[in-house]
Every structure is written in C-alpha cells, then in structure tokens.
C-alpha cells in the first residue's frame, strides 16, 4: 500500500503522454508560395472529374500469320463426323457423334425420345450440333430426309444447335409433309425454341425443347387422326430402330408379363370366392324356416295360446334382468 500513490502517479503520467498526438506537418511558406505561383492548388486532383492520367498500355499487335489463321477457322462440322450424321438412317433417335452432350444428358434425352416413340405414332429424330457449327454446303438436308425417312413410321427430324436453339431446323418425313402445313411446322418449332430459352444452360435448353416439340407432335398426330397411320404399313421399319432399354424397364416388362399370365386365373378365383360368399349371403337372407305342426292340447281354456313367457320389469336400473330370471309369484319371494 505504500507504493499506491507512486503507481497511480505513473499511470496518470503514462496516460497523459499517450493522449498527446504528434504534430501535423507544416508547410514551408516559401515553397508553398512558389507552387501556388505556377497554378498548383493543394487537393485539386480530387476536385475534378477528369481521370487521373495513366501510363499507356503496351499491347502486342497480332502477327499477320495469326490473322490469316483466324480467317481460316471454319464453323462447318468436321468431315470425320459427317458419315455418322448423314451416311445412313440413324439407329437411335438422338444423333450426337461429336459427343456434345454429356453422357448423362445423352442418356436422359435418348430415354425421353424412346418414351416419345413408344407413346406416339410419329417418331422424333434429333441431330445435335454445336451452337456455332454449320452443316457443310455439300450436304442437302432435304435430300437426307427424303432418302432416309421416306419409309417406315412418319418422323419429325430436328437439327438442333446446342446453346443456340433459335438456329434449329425442323423437317417432316415425306409421308406427313403434305398433311402438316408449313405454318404449323413453324409454330411447333417457334414454341419449342421459346420453351428452350426459358433455361440458360444448353443441356436444360435441349430438354425443354424436346418436351415441347413432343407436345407439338402430339397435336400433329391429332391433325392426322382420321387417316391411316403410315407407320402401320411397314412395322419392320419400326423394328429397325434400336432402342436401348432404360434402367428398370426389363423388370417392368417381366412384371407385366407375370401380371398378364396370372391375371385371368386370379380374377377367376376371386370372382369364384365372391360368388360363393354372395350365394351364401343370399341363401341366408332368403332362407325360410318352418316348424313342425305338432298337436298341442289346449290349456287353461285358451283356444289359441297358453304359452305365457317371461315378464320383465324395467322400472329401475337397480333391478337388472339377471335378478329377474326366476319368475316366481310374489308370495314366494323373500321380503
């Protein structure tokens, strides 16, 4: 305790020293006068909108050969992929030899197209190309369609440019071209493109596009209704299209076959059991019961009856039926 005043004094002294700020720099009046004389204003750089001058960028100019190479880059589909696209009628509904779609997307889209084919009388073939790509000029799309899609089931063929759905082109197989007007084809394509543009990612765009075009094909089918289905003429052509089985479909088919196999016997058995129960119920309800007519001698002078049965009193809950079972005269009851 003796050192307490010393400590307090030391603390206050240190605090007072810490609170003292260092002195601001001070202009040399002579230097300032010289600068102001040449037009300099302190802080003027922050008071103007003109950008602070920067050093010019040193950009390397492209070389002539590089510019020439850029001009050479062609958007056409590489020649090595052309046979896979246009050499024959596609074996699957989704044609993507360049592998533009990821395997998972390819599988999902193909699964959808297979489903569409199973549900619709018009097949949907989709050729997937890059968004910037062009079909080589020596390939005539109409000729391809006529060559590969004249036979078999009617089909809608779409050249779809991944990431650029607005560039998509639609063709109909010759068997239905006359029945579906060009305007209707255009509307189908337009609505599908609009649906595709609701999404940003190319993989989602193609999904939306296919769903919408499938719906529009349904309406085309409705338009065709009334006329014979062209695909029925040649079922072998339909079989030519290989449809990879989707996961679980084999089990589903097995179950369907099993159900078909046992459906009839099961239904027969259930019907039989129900019939037996119904007959039993009907017999029980409609049964008639008779009593043998036995000769009974009249009693107590009664011509029709002397069968005096029980009498029960319901005057009080304290007198339950169990206590009334012995039907005896009052004078025989205990008080």
């Amino acid at each position: 305790m003796r050192f307490l005043p010393v400590i307090v004094t030391a603390v206050f002294t240190a605090t007072s020293h810490a609170l003292v700020e260092p002195a601001l720099p001070v202009w040399n009046l002579k230097e300032r006068a010289e600068l102001e004389a040449v037009g300099w204003i302190p802080g003027a750089i922050f008071l103007t909108d003109t950008p602070v001058p920067d050093e010019p960028l040193q950009v390397e100019q492209p070389k002539p050969e590089e510019i020439v190479d850029d001009l050479k880059a062609s958007p056409e589909i590489a020649e090595k992929f052309l046979p896979a696209y246009f050499a024959e009628r596609p074996k699957t509904f989704l044609v993507d030899p360049q592998g533009l779609l990821s395997p998972a997307d390819y599988r999902d889209r193909l699964s959808f197209l297979n489903y569409h084919a199973s549900d619709s009388s018009i097949d949907l073939f989709v050729y997937v190309m890059g968004g910037e790509q062009e079909i080589p000029s020596d390939v005539r799309e109409e000729e391809v369609i006529e060559r590969f899609f004249s036979e078999g089931r009617p089909a809608v063929v779409v050249y779809y440019y991944l990431g650029a759905p607005q560039r998509s082109v639609i063709y109909l197989s010759p068997s239905i071209t006359d029945s579906i007007s060009a305007a209707e084809q255009h509307r189908a394509l337009e609505s599908s493109v609009m649906q595709a543009f609701e999404k940003i990612r190319p993989s989602e765009q193609i999904e939306k596009f296919l769903v919408q075009i499938s719906i529009r094909i349904y309406w085309m089918e409705r338009m065709l209704a009334g006329g014979p289905a062209a695909g029925d003429a040649d079922p072998s052509a339909r079989a030519a299209v290989v449809r990879p089985a989707v996961a679980g479909s084999a089990q589903l088919i097995w179950l369907q076959e099993l159900a078909l196999k046992f459906a009839f016997p099961a239904a027969l058995t259930v019907s039989g059991v129900l019939l037996v129960f119904a007959l039993g119920f009907w017999r029980r309800v409609s049964a008639r019961y008779r009593f043998p007519d036995l000769e009974v001698e009249p009693r107590l002078g009664g011509a029709h009856a002397a069968g005096v049965g029980a009498v029960i009193s319901f005057a009080s809950a304290a007198l339950p039926p169990a206590s009334q079972r012995d039907q005896v005269p009052d004078y025989l009851r205990r008080a």
Binding site: R290, D293, G309
Partner: protein, 219 residues
C-alpha cells in the same frame, strides 16, 4: 309352462291351474270376453314415433317373411295398477283378432309382446304352434336385450333388439326341430297314464305287447 296368475308350473293338458284354478274365464272376467279387433302393432300408449313405427313394422315383417308360419304382434298400453301383464297377454292373444294378419295365420302362430310403460313392465306370450319350441327362458333372453333401452325410454330400439334376438332363437329352434323332431314331439306327448305303465310292466317292456294290446282294444 306356468300359470299366468300364480306363476306355478302346470302340466300339459291342464284345463285349469291345479294350484289356483285359473282359466281364461277368469281373465275374461277381468278384461272382457268379447273379441278385440286390433292391428299387429298397436301403440295405445303412444310411445313410438312415426319413424320408429316404420322400423318396428319392418322388423316384424322380416320375421313374418323368414318364418312363414309365424307372426309377431306388439301391444303397448297402460294396464293400470290392478291388471296383471301376464294375464293380460294371455287374454289378448286368445281374444284378439289381428286385422292386418292374413287369415291363414291364426293366433296359434302368433307371438305377442306387451309393454306397459306406466308400470314399466313387458311380457311375451306365444301361441300353441311355438309351444314345443320356445321356453320361458328364451322369451326372458329376448326381453332382457331391451332392458337397457326401455330403462331410458327408448322403446323402439328396445323392441328392435327383442325382435332381432327372437329371430335368432326361432332360426335355431327351427334347425333343431328339423334335425331332431322327436325331441320336440316328446314335449307335447300326453303323459303316460297309470294303466299304461302297469301294462308295460306286465308285458316286460316289450314292443310286441303294444301290437297285442292294440289287437285287444280294437274289438
């Protein structure tokens, strides 16, 4: 079988109660000897509502349909303090003519349920056709089913319970009678007379003697 007045057992062919001498004439003296014309469902006490009446009538009709020989009648009324519900039921089934019951169904095939809401008592009487087949305990079981309902004044529900149980008992008795008719025949066969017994003893209980005996009696 019991006497409606003294509730003592009486034998099968008693012209009057051997204990108290009761006969139908005594009941006539109390309730009148004229024939009474009523319907099979007579609600003199007014304890059944319109909807209830229809339900009860349906249940009665169901029994008549299922047992073509039988009909059920229900009478509700205040009998007063003096009247005995047993004697009244016995008298009513013998003296009433049911207007809505077909003529081919005499009162012998009837089952009468009597309810007196004033004295809070109910009884059941049946005709001679059902005499071999129904026991007093059967009728007691039927009435017991309604006890809880009648305690609360729910007469229609109680009656429906009685009729449902009665339906079950009649079906059971009918099946028993079809399987073993002799059982019920024995119940109505007149009791053996002393002379018959002596003759059987002398004949050594042989069946042949019956034939001889018949031969003797015929001339």
């Amino acid at each position: 079988m019991k006497c409606p007045r003294c509730v003592q057992r009486i034998h099968r062919a008693a012209a009057s109660c051997p204990h108290c001498g009761f006969t139908l004439a005594d009941a006539d003296a109390c309730f009148g000897e004229e024939e009474v014309r009523i319907r099979s469902l007579t609600d003199s006490a007014g304890i059944l509502r319109r909807g209830d009446r229809e339900k009860v009538e349906l249940a009665m009709e169901r029994i008549s349909r299922r047992f073509p020989q039988v009909f059920v009648a229900i009478y509700t009324g205040s009998l007063g303090e003096v009247a005995n519900i047993r004697q009244f039921g016995f008298w009513l089934l013998n003296r009433s003519a049911f207007e809505d019951v077909p003529v081919e169904k005499p009162n012998e095939v009837g089952i009468l349920i009597t309810i007196d809401p004033e004295s809070k008592a109910a009884g059941m009487v049946f005709g001679y056709l059902l005499d071999p087949f129904l026991e007093e305990s059967d009728t007691f079981e039927c009435l017991s089913r309604a006890h809880a309902y009648w305690l609360e004044g729910r007469y229609a529900e109680g009656i429906l319970r009685v009729l449902k149980h009665l339906d079950g008992i009649l079906r059971k008795r009918s099946r028993q009678a079809r399987r073993d008719p002799e059982h019920f025949e024995r119940k109505v066969t007149p009791p053996a007379q002393m002379g018959d017994l002596v003759r059987r003893i002398r004949a050594g209980h042989r069946a042949v003697i019956q034939q001889d005996e018949t031969v003797e009696v015929v001339p």
